[in-house]
Amino acid sequence: MTQTIEDMAEAMRLAMLRADPKLSRFDPLQRIISHDMFSEGHGGWSQLVGNYQGDLDTMLPGYAQHTSAMLSTLPHWDAGSHGGMGSSYALKIATRPRRGAQNAAIKRHTFRHRGKIRFETYFTFKPEATELKLGETDVRAVGFLFDLQSGDSDAGGERVMPHIRFLNALDGEHVQKWQFKRSNTEFQPVGEGDGVLSHYHLAPEGWEDLPGGRQRLCYNEIATKINWTYLCFDFDLDTMMPLALRCNDRELDVSGMDSIRMPAMKNLWCMLNFVFFAETDTDKRAFLYVDSVCISGDF
């Protein structure tokens, strides 16, 4: 058997990854773009603020409801702090206590190579434990999206926004399925003057089912017990198409999935943004907790 230097380098890379307790739970591609563990701070996961001009009243209501993510120990009134997988802390994205309320956290980068990227995370979700009930249909949805744009020298430049959510419940029905979104929400000018547009792409309309996308996750048995769930999404920045989606033991079919697409915008070149979001189905706060995130690329 002949081993090339590349084979040996890859074997060494995998050996080092697997021996590292903090990275071994991930399967990163060759280059780690970011690895966030929230015992080390927010890691750049910040509030998704909406566009405005002249007056904050011009911000679309979907964005106006957003608040800042928190560093949480998952503290519960009955059992104390739950903690994360490898530390006491997780990132917490909390909605307001109003049916249909949403919140999001965003990490903003740009890309340097047009190729495959991988987004891996361990997450969980729960409603605020305001009632002594299971609450398994209180959280409507949790999900993530990328906000991408081609480089400034590309012909036919596009802004591309793959959206994926786990629709847990809708109007009290325990739906439990993965969905994507490709239909765009109309842009609106905000405020007086030219140049500032906004669109609330997390609006409830336009979600479509991933084929075979029903999945029952480990919710556990009361509102204050949580279990961490693994998720991995591969996307090609060259073709701007999804490649694979995995959640725990399930490979989901993304062959029919597409993204929200629109012509390139004048100031977003090479944009590489990542967003987590949560939505509540009742007048209780919904909490999306993120233990850790590893974003990697093939370059």
Binding site: G41, V49, S68, M70, L71, T73, P75, W77, Y89
Partner: protein, 111 residues
Amino acid sequence: MLPENITAIVARNDRWTGSAASEPHEAGWAREAVFFVRALKAPTGPQPVVRVEMSPDGMHWVAEGSEAPMPARKDEIVALRVRHFGGWLRIAADFDGPAQSTVLVTLHLKA
């Protein structure tokens, strides 16, 4: 590694009237906190005192002891400094009748 510090926007352009409070914020990692409250528009009616509250669970709240008068004019700002607060923080104020204020509430946390 430098100790964590963060600026969180816990209310932005929220119109406060009646019994109003900022969204609960988990801050157990922080040793100190400062809330800034800025009136984004001219407040109307008598302005109450704004108080810091802390909580064991983010659901049941008790006054922490720090108080300040709500901003009386547009763009006036007040600050509330807090230490030794456990895990949860918010601020709250009780407006009489139609009195109101549209606020920006900024929370500065430092490990």
